[in-house]
Symmetry: C2
Subunit: 236 residues, 2 copies
Amino acid sequence: MPPSPPDYDAAAFPPFAVTVDLIALTVRDDALQALLVTRAEEPFAGELALPGGFVRPDEDLNAAAARELAEETGLHQVPGHLEQLGTYGAPDRDPRMRVVSVAYLAMAPALPDPEPGGDASSAAWVPVAKALESELAFDHRTLLTDGVARARAKLEYTSLAAAFCPPEFTISELRHVYEVVWGARIDPRNFHRKVTSTAGFLIETGRSVTDGPGRPAALYRSGPTAVLVPPLTREP
Amino acid sequence: MPPSPPDYDAAAFPPFAVTVDLIALTVRDDALQALLVTRAEEPFAGELALPGGFVRPDEDLNAAAARELAEETGLHQVPGHLEQLGTYGAPDRDPRMRVVSVAYLAMAPALPDPEPGGDASSAAWVPVAKALESELAFDHRTLLTDGVARARAKLEYTSLAAAFCPPEFTISELRHVYEVVWGARIDPRNFHRKVTSTAGFLIETGRSVTDGPGRPAALYRSGPTAVLVPPLTREP
DNA sequence: ACAATAGTGTCTATGAGACAATATAAA
DNA sequence: TTTATATTGTCTCATAGACACTATTGT
């Protein structure tokens, strides 16, 4: 058994840099898309990367993630869902120094394109399939893969799909989220029955909208139920 | 929108300390128990805390967690399962300085008590129910609560319950893990049918053991299936 | 024999998936 | 009308839970 020091001297702690990185996902143009930036500085200058940045000295981790998301999208208040995904801290993941990155997963409805020329000039929404074909800076391919896997899994047993929808949405829009994220067709009739029979998942607004031909669709808001029992299954 | 600096100067990054903390769980004496230490130093000297310590300058996060687990249990190689739980970094969570802690969840079979007098002299297994009644240092009550919730949830849809069992175990032992972690009785007959009919969950060893009266129980090893479909449900 | 635990078989209600049928709109 | 989408209804098969029953041990 290796004899280990009883504890480090608190004043001599090894210094780390701590960053937050964002896997911000949305559904646009029938595709799952992620927010990516083009790095302006070394290392990996000119390459695609996940948005992120250093946590400030007196800033909570979640606050740092929310701040970065707002900065990169150009919106004050970003709708949708934000949760911690995991922390990545391999000693050599950043060539400059020891950096530990706390990754956050954001799920948002379709947002306007980030303003070119603004602070987030280099940010853009990119289909996940295309992003995973590209080179990504640091270990960001791993982060993106993990984030997408988490999102896909969570659609099964939580009501998070609604985070990809605007505040009021039709059941077709919700189904479309599932179909795009899972990459699978879903029977509209069974889906309708399932989501409407899960208590607390959806709240009727009483209104309806008509888009193109066909019977108008009822509008719903997201309900209080976060965990779906039974879950929606992915394998037809 | 607050104008934010385009990026921090990499050389002027805000320094953080990074630690790993362990939620090490086991099933002993019909109770879910956690490994706790009594702190020797300020802050919170004399109080109960989760085991943990600083990540070393060239150490991976998972390696740091595995090292701490080995140190605190007194075992070179700790059986069971180790996974990242989440990262806790509120600015004031450590009164000394800015500390970001990566929490790891460990699930192990019943282990010998840590050697008093050794390096882990202050470590001991404590029933979770009792631990949550006590004061815990830092935000460790939150970490412990989150870890237990994760473990309970994961028993439903993964084969992780076997991590609480020795390498070879009976179906009764496995069921006992579920009953203790969930705090609910499970019908032995339906449980038997369920776990044996989930392909890849259990592997027969061909041997059996007899403990007390009753028919001998077949011995199984854990199989390759990590995700249980369909899941075992918690609500009878 | 009796008690205790392991393991198998059976029944029933529920729910998922397939798909027919109806409702209501645009073209 | 034709077409497209929304919504409801029906049928069938699989399965979860309740529980009777058999198997095999210790006392």
